[in-house]
């Protein structure tokens, strides 16, 4: 018999329409990449695209960032609630983390689709702008209130009758660095949404509005049913994990270093449901490491999706997460309340939350978890004047570390982990658009944790600052506590950050916050490696010899960690 989740819809038609919605989300992504102006969007892929129903539930997400799984529906839902008078030709813009946004640089552009007077749903493009104002180019300063983090937009109508509202655009462009680039990005986000709307209209014309809406609902039920099946197939159990976070970038009075803080997770898996509770986690911190609950939930969802659906059979949408409950005490660092600052937490906290889920799930399903990955997005920004053109610039890059070792495989070197999937910025493209010269971009030997299966290696990247003095900022984690090993594997290496000044002195840089770079100085980051899986003594000797021949492991480390002599 056909599955009840399909509600009697023809299985072939269901498959066709479901795929058409996914293709539409993919097409949005292509349109955005090809028309956007900022390198973050056009070459680094820091954005997500989705199709949503009229209630704001996500029906289809493109093959983009898992980090946005949890919070995009809240963002579209906020628009739907704020504008009961939504009309054809409207476009909305919105980046408020306390209304389903993630952090201020992630700007949502939302467009409704109407057919024969009925609202079918929405397209939404969430794109990371390289700058959203504030005191620091790139908007990654360590401030203590969201008011200092840049321009905050609750859901606002940006277009009416298909035409931009010049007043709203003027406010936005007056508050961001490199406004011409931002305007190009807005146009690209609208163009991508337009493609989504065209595709939804095409489906409504072909199958009728009622049938399309019925299928859009069934897609959610289908994902829910599949996720419940996957959960039911795992043994029941309770598991927990605690982890220490490096800090929030704000050095409090009387301290000399950034203060670490603690996260606590308890998982409870029963039948076809699972609960993730963060009771016992520390209260909100002064600096921008506070995660709204939807950001915390994104980290949980991304890890569970990898554990439960490694073959990607379950379309990621709002239905998936009905069997999953995420709770955290209000006012804790994983359930931030206004006006706590949030900019780092979006990727740093969701990275760490997802790794905690893997660590805890080892007790329930040891064959389907990773050792600790890089645990950070490794952000470095620069901004200032380009001596070649006299124009302002902002650059924003993410340096990758290791992807955790697996129960039957080594980790992966230098690749985005779990919640993230950004691309690097090509050195030649970067140097064309910013007064920087990359002097090294290479793997860091011995950065992968030793184990039966070795952790993935982290990456070193160095930038020489050319021309004028620039302002830089970092957002790194795992400089204090290393990525954990699993099942007897050793931890991966920590992040290390420093600056070599023109006078020959070297100074360490803090993991979070802004700094000044005189011309001629060289800023270097080493992104963390990842943890190993299983005891090092279990490693295949030939694999270790290959690691030595390729320089992934040095002879000293082979002697120390593997007892090779």
């Amino acid at each position: 018999m056909p599955h009840p989740a399909l509600h009697g819809i023809d299985p072939a038609r269901f498959e066709v329409v479901k795929n058409a919605l996914l293709s539409a989300a993919e097409e949005m992504k292509i349109v955005l990449a090809k028309t956007a102006y900022s390198p973050l969007l056009k070459v680094a892929g820091d954005y997500s695209c989705g199709i949503f129903n009229a209630r704001g539930e996500m029906v289809a997400q493109g093959p983009d960032l898992p980090i946005h799984l949890g919070s995009m529906p809240d963002a579209v839902g906020s628009v739907a609630r704020a504008f009961p008078d939504v009309a054809p030709g409207d476009v909305f813009i919105h980046n408020d983390p306390y209304r389903g946004g993630s952090h201020l640089p992630d700007v949502n552009v939302v467009m409704p689709a109407f057919h024969e007077g009925r609202l079918l749903g929405f397209g939404c493009v969430r794109a990371h702008w390289p700058d959203i104002g504030s005191a620091t180019p790139g908007s990654y300063g360590a401030v203590t209130e969201i008011y200092g983090e840049g321009l905050r937009l609750p859901p606002v109508r940006l277009y009416r009758n298909g035409e931009p509202d010049p007043s709203v655009e003027a406010i936005i462009l007056a508050n961001v660095r490199t406004p011409a680039e931002r305007l190009g990005d807005i146009r690209a986000q609208v163009a991508a949404n337009r493609r989504a709307v065209e595709r939804m209209l095409g489906l409504a014309r072909k199958y009728g509005t009622d049938e399309l809406l019925r299928i859009m609902d069934a897609v959610l039920d289908y994902s829910e049913a599949m996720l419940r099946q996957a959960l039911a197939a795992l043994p029941d159990g309770d598991a927990g994990f605690a982890d220490i976070i490096d800090g929030d970038g704000v050095i409090e009075q009387g301290d000399t270093d950034d203060r670490t803080f603690r996260l606590q997770l308890a998982l409870r898996k029963r039948g076809d449901t699972i609960t993730a509770d963060f009771a016992g986690s520390d209260p909100a911190v002064p600096g921008p490491m506070n995660a709204p609950l939807s950001v915390t939930a994104s980290g949980v969802y991304a890890a569970l999706k990898m554990i439960l659906d490694p073959d990607s059979l379950i379309p990621p949408n709002s239905g998936c997460w009905r069997p999953v409950t995420v709770t955290a005490p209000p006012g804790s660092v994983v359930n931030a309340q206004e006006p706590s600052p949030v900019v780092y937490a979006n990727h740093e906290m969701s990275h760490r939350v997802s790794e905690m889920v893997f660590a805890a799930m080892h007790a329930i399903t040891p064959d389907r978890v990773l050792a600790g990955s890089q645990g950070t997005s490794g952000i470095t920004t620069f901004g200032g004047l380009d001596y070649r053109t006299g124009q302002r610039f902002v650059s924003y890059e993410s340096t990758k570390g290791g992807f955790g070792a697996r129960p039957v495989k080594d980790g992966i070197n230098a690749v985005s982990a779990v919640i993230s999937n950004m691309l690097n910025t090509p050195v030649e493209v970067l140097e064309m658009s910013a007064p920087l010269r990359v002097e090294e971009y290479a793997l860091v030997p011995d950065s992968g944790g030793a184990g039966t299966w070795r952790g993935g290696l982290g990456v070193r990247r160095s930038w020489r600052v050319l021309g004028h003095e620039l302002r830089g900022a970092m957002c790194f984690e795992r400089a204090v506590t290393p990525p954990f090993g699993q099942a007897g594997g050793l931890p991966g290496s920590n992040a290390r950050l420093w600056i070599d000044l023109p006078d020959g002195t070297r100074r360490p840089l803090p993991g979070k916050g802004a700094f000044t770079t005189p011309p001629g100085s060289v800023v270097t980051v080493e992104a963390p490696g990842s943890g190993g899986f299983g005891p090092p003594a279990g490693r295949d000797p030939q694999a270790l010899r290959d690691d030595l021949a390729d320089g992934y492991v040095t002879p000293d480390a082979a002697a120390r960690d593997y007892g090779m002599r």
């Binding site: 018999m1 056909p2 599955h3 009840p4 989740a5 023809d10 299985p11 072939a12 498959e15 066709v16 293709s23 993919e26 097409e27 292509i30 090809k34 028309t35 056009k42 070459v43 892929g45 093959p63 983009d64 898992p66 190009g184 163009a191 049913a225 599949m226 099946q229 990898m306 490694p310 990607s312 059979l313 990773l370 070649r388 990758k400 992807f403 697996r406 039957v408 992966i412 230098a414 690749v415 985005s416 999937n421 950004m422 691309l423 690097n424 050195v427 030649e428 493209v429 140097e431 064309m432 010269r437 090294e440 971009y441 290479a442 793997l443 160095s462 021949a549 390729d550 320089g551 992934y552």
Partner: protein, 690 residues
């Protein structure tokens, strides 16, 4: 009588297509492919074809070949022991890639293995900056130690890719000279010769692919050339991925240029038939046993792309890079889906019906072939619906076990979904057709083309079975089934021009650049192109040079390729180029910003040695006329359906659907409401209505 011959080596058969230049008469010889020495099959096929048609080897004017040797070497990791040299600090450029993973949620995925392992990746001190200026001169004194290290590594071949060599190739050329003289017998590929374009990873990857497959390709072509030479045939040419043939020397200079040799040939053939029929807009649709490939021909031009990965998973549907090795050379723009006659149908845990990506392949094949297959395939569904003969295929040479097809569909699809076997078969066809529509949509709608303005050209063994259904779905008004659809790619090999594509990065704002700068770059490429044509002995009357430029708005990162006027390059040429870019941007993305200056990024030059045009023709053989009837299912109902044998159809005949037109190498389905017309030269043209 002059003849041209094309040889296409497939997984099971080697097809030899022969076309008589004056009349366009087609003859085909099919022999078994003979791995690992493919040359044997080629020689068998050529001997058989020449003998059957009574062709004198001296009368052959073109011998053209499509090969998968490069692609297979990459897929099977059987390339050369290669070394790589980078700018100091960038040894890992091939391994760091673009740092994204190809699959978001697969815990156990790995990236493609790096073609050149870290132990054979070396560095040299040097640096050129983003303005093309030397910041650090190349350390000549490091070269002897580098040479020793390469020698000690056992490398048979070396790829060199230094930063910003696309702006200033002095260091690469100097290093190349020194390596070539110090390492005789070792092939050296320079990124500035292979691909002088921005983006260090993609350029290095293209260079590494060349180094990795170079020696293998050299050996293969040398053996094949020697073998065909013994038959007295002319020098061998190889189909390039961009839709033109290259001579052997060009191939060895740029091995990455022939990765999609076979599929490109099919698209070229479709373009030729389109031209012959006066149809400038063609959706080319090639469906075989495991995959279906779609491509678009707009205004008579084959569409090529420069964004391509080789050796990865199915690439057409995936935008996130990372499953293969990028090569930045022109490749015919194909969208490929895992949908073929052998694709397996299954019901997923959520109760949705899926077809593919797994295929029963040639062995065991569809359940109905009786070779041990038990899973239901697309072919099985086609048999149950009456589209394919349930008694035998291949003109009686392949017996069909209908009961086995029924069992497979009943057990794996009909039962779980609570459907009858026929309903289940119809659903399987619906799903696979939808998957193939996706591929056709990618190359048409996503590229800004309206399918209603196109004809669908269907070939490959299974293409003509499904074509009318796809046309119905996409509102394509007409389907064309060309002669010899089962050996169509081999026909494409003889229909193509000698071709080489040049490119050069030249960053310039079109409204302010000195036209002389552009003119100089164009002239330099044209001089190189003309030298290639002279060396290949192409008479001047058949030379053609096509200029294009990759342009974008200044702050975008992706370019659109637009044609550039011939003649002297002036400010007017550049203004026209801007206009063409705005128009194409609006067509592709729905908006253009005409006030904004346009930036040129790359100049491209396609150099063609034109072949005299062919007109393909297959004569009708009235003696072969056969006709029968069986039940076929359309729209959920059984229809008595005429069965006709294609070879016997007279020109001018019109066959109203439902009908099935059978031939040795392919079956064409004409659904109710469609009519098949037999056009001149043995073309079938299907359209809705009478």
């Amino acid at each position: 009588m002059a003849w041209r011959i094309g040889v296409d080596i497939g997984g099971t058969f080697t097809d030899v297509a022969m076309v008589e230049e004056a009349t366009g008469r087609i003859a085909v010889a099919k022999v078994l492919t003979t791995p690992p020495d493919f040359g044997q099959g080629v020689l068998d096929g050529l001997r058989q074809g020449l003998a059957e048609q009574g062709i004198d080897a001296a009368a052959v004017t073109l011998l053209s070949h499509a090969t998968t040797v490069v692609t297979n070497a990459l897929l099977e990791h059987k390339g050369a022991t290669a070394a790589f040299v980078s700018t100091r600090g960038f040894r890992d450029v091939l391994e760091l890639r673009r740092s994204a993973r190809a699959d978001l949620y697969d815990l156990f995925q790995d990236g493609p293995s790096v073609l050149i392992p870290r132990r054979r990746r070396f560095e040299i001190t040097e640096r050129i900056d983003a303005q093309g200026q030397v910041v650090t001169p190349m350390a000549e004194d490091e070269v002897p130690a580098l040479v020793d290290a390469i020698r000690a590594s056992g490398a048979e071949t070396v790829g060199v890719s230094l930063l910003f060599s696309f702006l200033n190739d002095a260091h690469e050329r100097r290093l190349g000279d020194r390596l070539r003289s110090a390492l005789p017998g070792v092939q050296v590929f320079l990124s500035s010769e292979v691909l002088p374009e921005i983006r260090e990873y993609e350029r290095a990857s293209t260079t590494a692919v060349c180094a990795y497959v170079g020696p293998l390709l050299e050996g293969y072509l040398a053996r094949l050339q020697a073998a065909t030479g013994t038959l007295g045939l002319p020098p061998l040419h190889v189909m390039g991925s961009g839709g033109g043939v290259l001579d052997v020397a060009e191939c060895l200079r740029m091995p990455a240029a022939i990765v999609e040799s076979g599929p490109a040939a099919g698209v070229v053939a479709a373009a030729l038939v389109g031209e012959q029929l006066g149809l400038p807009n063609i959706l080319s649709f090639d469906m075989g046993g495991t995959t279906a490939k779609a491509s678009v021909i707009a205004d008579g031009e084959v569409t090529v792309t420069a964004e391509y990965e080789v050796g990865g998973g199915v690439n057409g549907k995936r935008f996130i890079a990372g499953t293969g090795h990028p090569i930045r050379v022109p490749v015919v723009d194909l969208a490929e889906v895992s949908a073929g006659g052998g694709s397996i149908a299954w019901v997923d845990p959520g109760g949705a019906l899926k077809v593919g990506p797994h295929s029963a392949g040639a062995m065991p094949g569809p359940a109905a072939y009786g070779r041990g297959g038990t899973k239901p395939t697309v072919t099985d569904a086609n048999i149950l619906l009456g589209y394919l003969d349930s008694g035998a295929l291949l003109d009686g040479r392949l017996r069909i076990d209908r009961a086995a097809a029924e069992r497979a569909v009943a057990g794996h699809v009909a039962g779980p979904l609570g459907l009858s076997v026929t309903e289940a078969a119809a659903r399987i066809i619906e799903v696979v057709n939808a998957n193939m529509c996706d591929a056709l949509r990618i190359v048409s709608i996503e590229r800004g083309h309206d399918p209603r303005e196109f004809s669908l050209m269907a070939f490959g063994g299974a293409g003509p079975v499904h074509a009318a259904f796809l046309a119905e779905e996409l509102q394509v008004p007409e389907v064309v089934v060309p002669p010899a659809p089962g050996a169509f790619s081999a026909l494409g090999l003889v229909a193509t021009d000698l071709r080489r594509d040049f490119s050069r990065t030249l960053y310039a704002a079109l409204d302010s650049v000195d036209p002389a700068r552009v003119a100089d770059a164009v002239a330099a490429m044209e001089a190189e192109g003309l030298a290639m044509l002279r060396a290949a002995g192409v008479p001047e009357a058949r030379w053609a040079l096509l200029r294009q430029a990759d342009c974008r708005y200044g702050r975008q990162a992706y370019e659109l390729t637009v044609p550039m006027q011939d003649g002297p390059v002036t400010a007017e040429t550049l203004r026209a180029l801007s206009g063409a870019f705005h128009a194409k941007h609006a067509q592709t993305y729905g908006h253009a910003n005409e006030k904004e200056p346009v930036q040129m990024v790359n100049l491209r030059l396609t150099v063609l040695g034109r072949q005299p045009r062919l007109a393909l023709a297959q004569a009708s053989r009235p003696g072969a006329a056969r006709e029968g009837e069986r039940t076929a299912w359309f729209g959920g109902r059984p229809h008595p359906t005429r069965i006709l044998w294609r070879d016997g159809l007279p020109p001018g005949a019109a066959i109203a659907g439902p009908a099935v037109i059978e031939a040795l190498d392919s079956t064409t389905v004409v659904p109710p409401g469609w009519t098949a017309g037999v056009a001149e030269h043995g073309m079938l043209r299907l359209a809705r209505g009478a």
